[in-house]
Symmetry: C2
């Protein structure tokens, strides 16, 4: 049984590498079978359909994401250090520390944004959960009084995603040597304007409004 | 001759629609021929290769982008109104005002980021030119003293791209009803912290550093 699980994992790993090259939609049982030099019917014992294969690859990518990006952040102290660790982990992930899955979630988001079905549904669920994780970690910084009370965690998550996506674009497509500097500066700016040291300004503004 | 140009344009329009559905890499002369119910050899008079066809479709998308997003912004008054018009146009483009080409540049950026060749080269050239256009328009706002002197136009362009990309993601994949509000709020925030009304703060900070 243990050996079977290992064999299954090896097949999923290989499927993930192929999906990384050609996209998840191109990953059929036939393509996987010929890459593994196996019969297609042998693969049916592992995946009953192309869709099941795709779902399993997607689960594998998100499991790696959780292990590489989310778990280490949850081990960091609550508040800004945790927000920072989360961003750093995401940044490294996009740069492709784990080359077989790095960037793949962004590729999938683009590939499946107009392909309805269970793969898209699972992807949407996972991406929404990721944005909710960012928001939850931002809330720890508000609770610790490191971020202002009126920071909108959803807005912070949205902007952090934007910084990451622009980095992916500048780094991978444009190969802009400034990409890293621009991403870092944007994120530091986002942190700076979330910090509670600016609270004075905001309170003045709200009392002016109330008056 | 004029009729030939019209015929050619109709073929390019059709090719663009197909590329929008299946991606540019899937757009072969064979696929286009069967969509048009024509012979593949008849298409050779228009495009000598799949690559030439792809390049022409990409040129068509970017020409529409220039006409829809850039030209109207250049007609707006220099400075913040022009920056705002540029963002609004880009925002509408991403939402798919022109359904056949909206979002397509983002899909292409993802599709070709690891496919070296003339299509990728042209795409990189066009995307870099777009970011430079944003930076140039931001410079008019600095020259008009509406934005602070120390606003980094490249950084502004990077953050504006990030806001747009996160919007595309939230709107198209996640179908988040908050997507528009979050994009608008992020952009207003970017404008607010670029405006020269904040100059006092910055000058205080620099003189403190100098002291």
């Amino acid at each position: 049984m243990k050996r079977d699980l290992h064999a299954h994992q090896r097949i999923v790993d290989r499927a993930l590498s192929i999906a990384h090259e050609i996209g998840l939609e191109g990953l059929t049982l036939g393509v996987l079978a010929s890459a593994l030099n196996r019969s297609k019917s042998g693969l049916f014992a592992h995946f009953r359909s192309k869709e099941e294969l795709q779902l399993e690859v997607l689960r594998e990518v998100t499991a790696r994401f959780t292990k590489t990006v989310i778990i280490p952040a949850l081990a960091a102290p609550r508040g800004e250090p945790r927000v920072r660790t989360l961003f750093d982990g995401y940044f490294d992930w996009i740069r492709g520390r784990d080359r077989r899955s790095g960037c793949m979630l962004m590729a999938l988001a683009q590939e499946f944004d107009d392909r309805p079905g269970p793969v898209r549904d699972l992807l949407v669920e996972k991406m929404a959960a990721w944005q909710e994780t960012i928001a939850r970690v931002v809330r720890t910084a508000i609770e610790e009084k490191q971020f202002r009370e009126n920071v909108d965690p959803q807005q912070f998550a949205y902007e952090m995603m934007g910084i990451a996506m622009a980095f992916h674009h500048s780094n991978k497509l444009l190969k802009d040597p400034q990409a890293k500097r621009l991403a870092r500066a944007s994120f530091e700016q986002l942190l700076a304007r979330s910090r509670s040291s600016q609270r004075g300004d905001i309170q003045r503004k709200s009392s002016r409004k109330a008056a």
